[in-house]
Symmetry: C2
Subunit: 143 residues, 2 copies
C-alpha cells in the first residue's frame, strides 16, 4: 500500500479555554497580541504567519466529553536574549500568569522557564543560543 | 510602563510523551514524518519550517509534577481537499490512532474531525475552504 507523507507543518494550534474573553485579555496584556478575528465568547484567532493560534470554547462540545486540564502540551516563545526571557516573564506574571518552572540556566545551554496562563496552558519562554531566529522570527536550528 | 509586544509566532510545540520511541514510530506510520533529531528515549525534534515540533519525555521532571492527560490542546493539519482528510484519518487509524471526533461536514463550511495519537494528543484533520494554503502549506486566511 502506498504510504502518504504529510507535509511538515501544523496549520492551527487550538487552546481550549472556557472563557475566550478572559483569554484574549490575558494575551493582550501578557504578550501584546491582538486577535485577527473574534466571535465573542466562542473563538479568537491569531494569525501567526502561516499558522493560526486559536482560543476556543467549543472543544469539549465538539468532542462530546469533558476535557482534562491543560498541561501535557507546551508552546514555546523563543527570544533573542536571556534578558528578554525575564522581561516576558515579568509582563506575563503582571497580566495574571503563574510560574510553572522558574526561568533558569539550563544544562542544554539556554535560559528558559515556563509560565501558565490563567486557564493553565503552558508557555515556555526560552533563549536557545543553538536555535537562531531568522528575521521573521522563525527558528532555524542546524541539525 | 512600556508595554512589550511579542512577535506573532510560536517557536516550539512540545507534546509530552512518556514513550518517545513509540511516539516517533506512530508519527512515522501515521503521517510519514521523520524526526530531524532524536535523543533516544528523551526527545525527538521535527523541523516544521520555522517551528519545531518536539516529543519530549522530560516535561513532568522539568515542572516537578505529574502531568494531566492530553486533551486540552489540539493541533490541526489542514488539507487541500475533503478526500485528503479521510485519507489521513485512515492512515493514522491504521498506525494506532483513535477517533476523537469523526470526520464530518461542519456548519462552518469545512470537513474535519479529530484523532488522538496513542498518548492521547489530539490532531484535528481539517479541510477549510475559507483558509487557503499557500505553496509552502501555510494557512492564509483573509480576516
Amino acid at each position: 500500500m502506498d504510504h502518504m507523507r504529510l507535509e511538515m507543518r501544523v496549520s492551527v494550534i487550538t487552546l481550549a479555554v472556557p472563557d475566550v474573553t478572559a483569554a484574549v485579555r490575558f494575551y493582550r496584556q501578557a504578550f501584546g497580541w491582538e486577535p485577527d478575528f473574534v466571535a465573542e465568547g466562542e473563538v479568537a484567532f491569531y494569525d501567526m504567519g502561516g499558522i493560526v493560534l486559536s482560543l476556543w470554547s467549543g472543544l469539549a462540545r465538539e468532542l462530546g466529553r469533558e476535557l482534562p486540564p491543560p498541561g501535557a502540551v507546551t508552546l514555546a516563545y523563543n527570544t533573542r536574549s536571556p534578558q528578554e526571557v525575564d522581561a516576558v516573564f515579568a509582563q506575563a506574571l503582571a497580566a495574571g500568569a503563574t510560574v510553572a518552572s522558574p526561568a533558569r540556566t539550563q544544562e542544554w545551554g539556554g535560559y528558559s522557564g515556563h509560565i501558565a496562563d490563567p486557564h493553565g496552558h503552558l508557555w515556555e519562554i526560552a533563549y536557545n543560543p543553538d536555535w537562531p531566529l531568522d528575521e521573521e522570527g522563525r527558528v532555524r536550528p542546524e541539525w
